[in-house]
Amino acid sequence: MTHATTGWHVPEDDLRAYARGDLEPPALWSADTHLTACAACRAVLAGAFDPVALDAGWERLDAELDAPRPGLLESLLVRIGFADHTARLLAATPALRRSWLGAVLAVLLLTAAVAADRGGAGSPTLFLALAPLLPLAGVALSYGPGPDPTYEMAVVAPLHGFRLLMIRTVAVLAAALGLNGLATLALPGYGLRALAWLLPALALTATALALTARLGPVLAPSLVGGGWVALLLVAHTARAEDADAPLAPFTAAGQGVSAAVAALAAGLLVLLRDRFDVDRSRDV
């Protein structure tokens, strides 16, 4: 779409910033696109600004013209304030692909629907048991030689492996916890009880990452996920006769334990951060 159809032109402040090289995406992309089609804006740019700065601006325009436009996720990340280079790193995160996020949402909605069917009676156990596993799986599928096709190039890059891991972990956690939160909204009858997945989710994810430093990116999340399922089965067996009582991990005491485990695992993870800077996948 050009000015001919919209009547829009690049604002003068933006043109000034463009000529200085200070205009940031996404305004920069709009200006690039518009300037190629709008002689009037090009004339304003040429007439009003320092020719040296303008030459630099044209060079930038030249460089930007055939840089492909970023995809939906990347554009969205830039629009909400991420630096463009961070957005590109995040766009390469396997667990942020639409297919993965769609699958997670479908599973959550299904289990939430099952719980909602009970009308808020007892505890939404299936939902609470499953929800912490989804961010764990998302993080496990976002780093390491298996899921990341560029892992071998990334591990020898100067960007520290732990930093890349954290960038992706935060993004995946934000997406997965957001989806979990949306699914929780479908369970208004349970009140705060429906949020009891949050601390276990953080504990499982942090523990898996800390163990990844020692056990590798496949064994560690598998053990943690398996351990969680085993814990729930034990809690289910040990539960008192009241079938509607919450399982131990979803009681106040269980939540406290989850918070403590999450904090300890996060501390351990920081201590072991240098182990993410080389490829230890063949050690295990």
Partner: protein, 286 residues
């Protein structure tokens, strides 16, 4: 001249398997070929020198920086370009986006300068016209050139290429060799290959690795000279030869210790390489 890479006594075990055994070498600007049969330890040595995996024993420096320390490792990586044996690509990225992604991993965060650099390396490998095309839609040879562009982005001083010509057709291989030769101008390039033609055409120096140990380190001419007087032709395969294969003329080319009166032939790099391996896994009949 101070070497770009100086390594001594590098050893690495995976469980009971000895992948590297007391490897010492020095690399200087130009293309050095790393020859060896499958399982010789070429990829392991490259991964150690590229700082992907630490060695169990031994030490090395790249441009004076010691990768055994965290700070030294970062400095080495800032000067390193690495093309792995099977480079992976994000399926949704175009050639430009992929190289841009690697440039970001290499800490090129200024968008304009980074995009200029990405365009430069894509032009350098001859992919300027298809930069917007998705990597998965490109041919195997083009994908390999995208990976080479990613290795060269940021103008690294030390470039590690792990069998980059494998799987390419002859025309693509020739083109790729030209690119590697150009990349070697003013840089130190370590090229792993099991094709002696790559070494003959590209390298000023060759290192032969077998069973994790260095068997030869010298010029291609010196490797060829190892076979002087030890290559001969015969109508049938000579049982005393360490290796022998039928040539296009129908006669056999043999390498080893020739019998008296043998019809000696001019040696090639391949003959020298086979003799250096001492026949282990080198017997070829065709």
């Amino acid at each position: 001249m101070t070497p770009t890479v100086s390594a001594s006594g590098l050893s690495l075990h995976f469980g009971r398997t000895r992948a590297l055994d007391d490897v010492s070498l020095r690399l200087s600007p130009g293309v050095t070929g790393l020859l060896g049969p499958n399982g010789a330890g070429k990829t392991t040595l490259l991964r150690v020198l590229a700082t992907a995996v630490p060695a169990d024993r031994g030490a090395f420096t790249v441009l004076g920086h010691d990768p055994a320390t965290s700070g030294g490792r970062q400095e080495v990586r800032r000067r390193l370009g690495y093309l792995p044996q099977t480079p992976g690509f994000h399926p949704d990225f175009s050639a430009f986006e992929f190289v841009d992604y690697v440039a970001i991993l290499k800490e090129l965060t200024d968008r304009t300068a980074r995009h200029r650099e990405v365009r430069r390396v894509l032009d350098e490998v001859g992919l300027g016209d298809v930069r917007g095309k998705r990597v998965k839609k490109l041919s195997g040879g083009m994908r390999q050139r995208v990976a080479l562009a990613a290795a060269l982005v940021g103008d690294p001083e030390f470039v590690v290429l792990d069998e980059p010509t494998v799987g390419l057709d002859p025309e693509q291989r020739m083109r790729f060799r030209e690119l590697i030769a150009r990349a070697g101008e003013g840089r130190t390039v370590l090229l792993s290959t099991h094709q002696t033609e790559d070494v003959a055409m590209l390298c000023h120096r060759v290192v032969v690795l077998a069973d994790g140990a260095v068997r030869f380190d010298g010029t291609p001419a010196e490797l060829t000279a190892r076979a002087a007087g030890r290559v001969w032709s015969s109508a049938e395969r000579d049982a005393g030869a360490k290796a022998g294969w039928r040539t296009g003329t129908g006669s056999f080319r043999n390498v080893g210790d020739p019998p008296a009166g043998a019809d000696l032939l001019e040696p090639t790099l391949e003959d020298g390489y086979l003799l250096t391996l001492d026949g282990a896994g080198a017997e070829v009949t065709a």
